[in-house]
């Protein structure tokens, strides 16, 4: 049984992001996945973080056959909801998306990590350099890519 709090925040999200939502999947009451176009990520992050008061948990990149997928996980703490925003970067040779680090500091490190482990370029990131791996790590060798030798 959904609480009113969750229902009202979901209404707000659907209303504010209308036009960008490509897919909306509710796995359980508190786990929702919504798919948007990569070009809309800054707008969506702005709406969720600044307008609606979601907290940025983390982002997770994944190498899939269709492309590089990124999930941006946001939490609406007052109702325990995790909203994961999915984007698919179809060009696996040069996956690229706008950085959301200029919007909030919390995203700086994870974008660096996704860059070094998956090879995603975050356009507009203040300092896209190695976070976890040594600086001498071979270029083009992305540990989380499945086609890595």
């Amino acid at each position: 049984m959904r609480s009113l709090k969750i229902m009202s925040i979901i209404e707000n999200v659907r209303e504010k992001l209308a036009g960008t939502i490509l897919d909306w999947y509710e796995h359980t009451a508190k786990r929702i996945y919504l798919k948007i176009n990569p070009k809309d990520i800054k707008y969506a992050a702005q709406v969720l973080f600044k307008d609606l008061g979601f907290r940025f948990i983390i982002a997770s990149g994944c190498d899939t056959p269709e492309g590089i997928e990124i999930l941006y996980h946001f939490s609406y703490d007052k109702s325990g909801l995790v909203l994961s925003v999915r984007v698919l970067l179809k060009d696996k040779k040069k996956p690229e998306i706008d950085s959301i680090a200029p919007l909030f500091k919390a995203a700086e490190w994870i974008e660096r990590e996704m860059w070094e482990l998956l090879g995603i370029n975050f356009v507009g990131h203040p300092n896209l350099e190695h976070l976890l791996l040594i600086d001498e790590w071979p270029k083009g060798n992305y540990p989380l890519r499945h086609d890595r030798k």
């Binding site: 508190k30 983390i58 939490s75 995790v82 909030f104 994870i110 791996l133």
Partner: protein
């Protein structure tokens, strides 16, 4: 004003040379900027997960951090259970909650000891670590190991808590209440400690939001979040307990939050031991269907988040792990700046990062590169400041 370079490394485990973890830039006595360098403990666990089957992953993620050893498996099994919409038996939920709160107790006691050492209260250190031992004895009794208790399993727990063990647990909790009372008096009511920690290492409410910090670090700055209440798991929604919030965001506030949380943990465990029903402890899960799952729990340091993606085979195809310290340590970029050198160690330690993380600190001058001190000296600076305060207050 002469500009000097101080190279502090750590209080107890000095790791002498590079590479460093925190690079603090100083001008005179003040820290003006900080670089945080990670990667020392990076073992590629997310990638290793993809090569292990679901049961093995629980053992793998335990070893992400020894202090939060239970938190990662707990969040992981929650993620897989969310993926497969698996129902966990009631008794197992109670046992999980008990283990999680025992872990919070041992972790907060550990932190209290370290913090005490950094500011020169070695008695606090000795006593808090001494009182950790009975908690570790409880773990050993229940699970067979003092650390890495391997209790979590997809669909339940691996071992039960027997009735004679319940008696020992309750006795230990009674002793612990007395110990926490002692710490409360020794730490929270001590005017020197208040003078030493109040107003130091402040993280404002807005900074806490911008940096998306979690756990006691957030709650000490007035951010009212706690996964146990917001997104309940285990049996937290059936037990009476309080979320501890402080407003000032300084190190004293963080200390108060942790001490008061220990009382709550003891209360939660007691209630669980009384209310725990008889029954199965394992749902006997055989297959994980394709899909995605998200699990999160309130570890001692904050929200621990796991995302698992399955394609129906017996291994995850993607496992994303986000430890709470990932967000909290980054916030030192604002909390440590503006502090004096003597407050550095305690500021960096205040977010309670993994123990090893606190150890590797290098302080550099913005312009020159001259070494004059080693790591032990920085801690000594911190301890000396406490002595000066004591004298000034006539203690």
């Amino acid at each position: 004003m002469s500009k000097k370079v101080i190279i502090p490394i750590g209080p107890y485990h000095p790791l002498q040379e590079e590479p460093e973890f925190f690079r603090l830039y100083v001008e005179g006595e003040k820290v003006v900027d900080i670089d945080i360098v990670l990667g020392y403990v990076h073992r590629g666990i997310e990638e290793l997960s993809e090569h292990k089957h679901y049961d093995q992953v629980a053992f793998l993620v335990e070893r992400i951090c020894g202090i939060c050893s239970n938190s990662h498996p707990f969040a992981y099994v929650n993620a897989v259970e969310n993926l497969g919409k698996i129902e966990v038996p009631e008794r197992a939920l109670y046992i999980r909650t008990i283990i999680a709160e025992l872990e919070r107790l041992h972790s907060h006691l550990l932190w209290l000891g370290l913090a005490g050492h950094f500011i020169g209260y070695n008695t606090v250190w000795m006593w808090s670590w001494r009182y950790r031992e009975p908690v570790l004895d409880c773990f050993e009794m229940i699970s067979g190991n003092r650390q890495h208790y391997a209790m979590m399993k997809i669909g339940g727990v691996r071992r039960d808590i027997e009735s004679d063990q319940v008696t020992f647990l309750k006795k230990t909790l009674d002793e612990l209440v007395k110990a926490v009372d002692m710490f409360k008096g020794a730490v929270m009511d001590d005017p020197v400690i208040q003078a030493r920690l109040k107003g130091v290492g402040v993280l404002t409410y807005q900074q806490a939001i911008d940096w998306a910090v979690v756990g006691p670090t957030a709650r000490a700055s007035g951010v009212d979040i706690d996964v146990r209440r917001d997104d309940p798991y285990g049996v937290y929604d059936r037990i009476d307990w309080n979320v501890i919030i402080e407003k000032n965001g300084d190190i004293f506030a963080k200390t108060v939050v942790r001490i008061l949380e220990m009382y709550e943990s003891i209360s939660i465990i007691r209630q669980c031991l009384d209310k725990m029903p008889k029954g199965e402890i394992d749902a006997n899960v055989k297959d994980i269907p394709p899909g995605e799952g998200i699990g999160r729990i309130e570890a001692p340091r904050g929200e621990c988040f796991h995302y698992v993606k399955s394609d129906g085979t017996n291994r995850p195809i993607r496992h994303k792990i986000r430890a709470p310290s990932y967000m909290n340590v980054a916030s030192n970029k604002v909390a440590a700046v503006g502090q004096t050198i003597s407050d550095t160690t305690i500021t960096l330690a205040a977010v309670d990062p993994c123990y090893c993380c606190t150890e590797r600190v290098t302080v550099l001058d913005k312009k020159t590169d001259e070494k004059i001190m080693n790591g032990l000296d920085l801690v000594r600076l911190s301890q000396e400041k406490t002595e000066r305060l004591k004298k000034a207050m006539g203690k």
